[in-house]
Symmetry: C2
Amino acid sequence: MAKKTTRKGCDTTSAELKPDPTADELAGLAWAIAHPARVQILRLLIKRDACMCGEIVSRLPLAQSTVSQHLKILKESGLVQGEVDGPKVCYCVNEDKLQRLKQLVDGL
Amino acid sequence: MAKKTTRKGCDTTSAELKPDPTADELAGLAWAIAHPARVQILRLLIKRDACMCGEIVSRLPLAQSTVSQHLKILKESGLVQGEVDGPKVCYCVNEDKLQRLKQLVDGL
DNA sequence: ACGGTCAATCGTCTATCTGCGATTAACGAT
DNA sequence: ATCGTTAATCGCAGATAGACGATTGACCGT
């Protein structure tokens, strides 16, 4: 079987999938910004309009716990990192990861 | 304790959130590629290594129905469009949307 | 008209996301 | 040591994603 016409000269015998680690990397980073609230949070941090969780809460129509959750997701993606500053936490963008995201998207 | 009562009532002081429609737009496009399988599908279509659903199925370790679901999501995002070609459907990338995604990410 | 091929949809199941209030934990200041 | 501020976590609920097999639908050939 597998008599499908050679569509593009590429191996028609099913190359299966290559490990393609960048697919997971890109998907993970994209997932981090796949929610409007997280996009807005990220933008606030990029523009340095906000830095602490409380500031973000006051700018978004979301509860503090919800914002904290989104921040957690952003942190896990690596796009954002938090520096403990006393009882507060100052969040800032991880420029390297942000550039990596741009690079991966641009290379699509 | 204090009085966290009027949580949403005391927001008037700050700028709240700007409508920021691009946040939703970016989140929507990011969501489309927020899954490794969809990243790989998109890449196959970009490289034109594959065009039909069946071809994609043979390259990914996923069932046909699952691939069809992912294609549906990609279509709904606008990144991909399908042209009916007889009993088959030839999927191809919507370059405009792809460029828009790159633009939005780059503008972060 | 009838199969055969291809893709979409249906139904189901599990796992995760999203949101919130309430609670807990960490820290600085008094 | 205690209090007030700030953020993280817990527990709960509803909604949705993700995967699959099975079915349905569309279309081309004979």
